[in-house]
Amino acid sequence: MSVNPELQGRVFAPAPPYLVGREKVREFARAVFADSPINLDPDAARAAGHADVVAPPTFPVVIQEHTLAQLLGEPDAGIDFTRVVHGDQRFSYSRPIVAGDELTATLTVTSVKTLGPHAMVTASSEMLDASGAHVVTAISTLVVRGGE
């Protein structure tokens, strides 16, 4: 099985909206050793000018997982999950994520490159809030190791 080069440019249907919960933000913050009170304490977050606790910078990975699942599950993608290694990751924000946000993520495969038996798939998940305004884009490159 090899990665389908025609994936490049494919835009997926938006994933179901993700409601950012305060306790989920706090759970994630503790898991990444984030000890800023702005991540954990709604009063501290409000005092800093935010509507509620602010998610740590890498929190969108939780939402990105849902879009990458769409990609890996695409019947013609040719991506064997057991051969996937995470190559790189980026998050580019227009504004921070706060608890209460409802985010809708849309995945685009921006590039598929083959290097001998291996392939590198770059996928971009653009996350918009309930008003349709851009919040953050999460970009992942997955390295798919070639088979025998």
Binding site: A31, F33, S36, V54, A55, Q89, S92
Partner: protein, 139 residues
């Protein structure tokens, strides 16, 4: 909290340093919080069966904590407007002794409104992230 002043910074300044002590508990906690239940992050037998030296930390866990010294320095997680890394080497987490990962954050570039802070993230004498850069909005 007050943000660091841009005009007080110079390229090359070390703004934060911290050591993180990872244990297997850290990996289980991150698996639950993130939803990444790949067994190579908690089962030795599975990790060994796919040719790994042992159970590895999630790359996204390392990315997640490596930025925290910058957040602490910046005073507000909302000031991180862009953050990227390349995953270059795994962090093997011993079941008994865990893994010690050190993070050094240094100013890499400055604009009128932002500082790019570059991270050096080291485990067992080698760097584990490449091109690890956070853009921090200041002032």
């Amino acid at each position: 909290m007050s943000a660091p002043r841009l005009d007080s910074l110079s390229v090359g300044d070390v703004v934060a340093e911290r050591e993180f002590a990872l244990t297997r508990d850290s990996l289980v906690r991150y698996a639950g919080a993130s939803g990444d239940f790949n067994p190579i992050h908690y089962r030795d037998d599975v990790a060994l069966s796919v040719g790994l030296p042992g159970v590895l930390a999630h790359g996204m866990l390392t990315m997640g904590f490596a930025v925290q010294p910058i957040v602490e320095w910046a005073g507000d997680p909302a000031r991180i407007v862009d953050y990227q890394v390349k995953f270059t080497r795994p962090v093997v987490v011993d079941p008994e002794t865990g893994a010690a990962v050190t993070v050094t954050a240094k100013v890499g570039a400055l604009t009128d409104t932002t500082a790019r802070v570059d991270l050096t993230v080291t485990f067992d004498g080698a760097t584990v992230l490449g091109k690890a850069q956070a853009v921090v909005k200041l002032g």
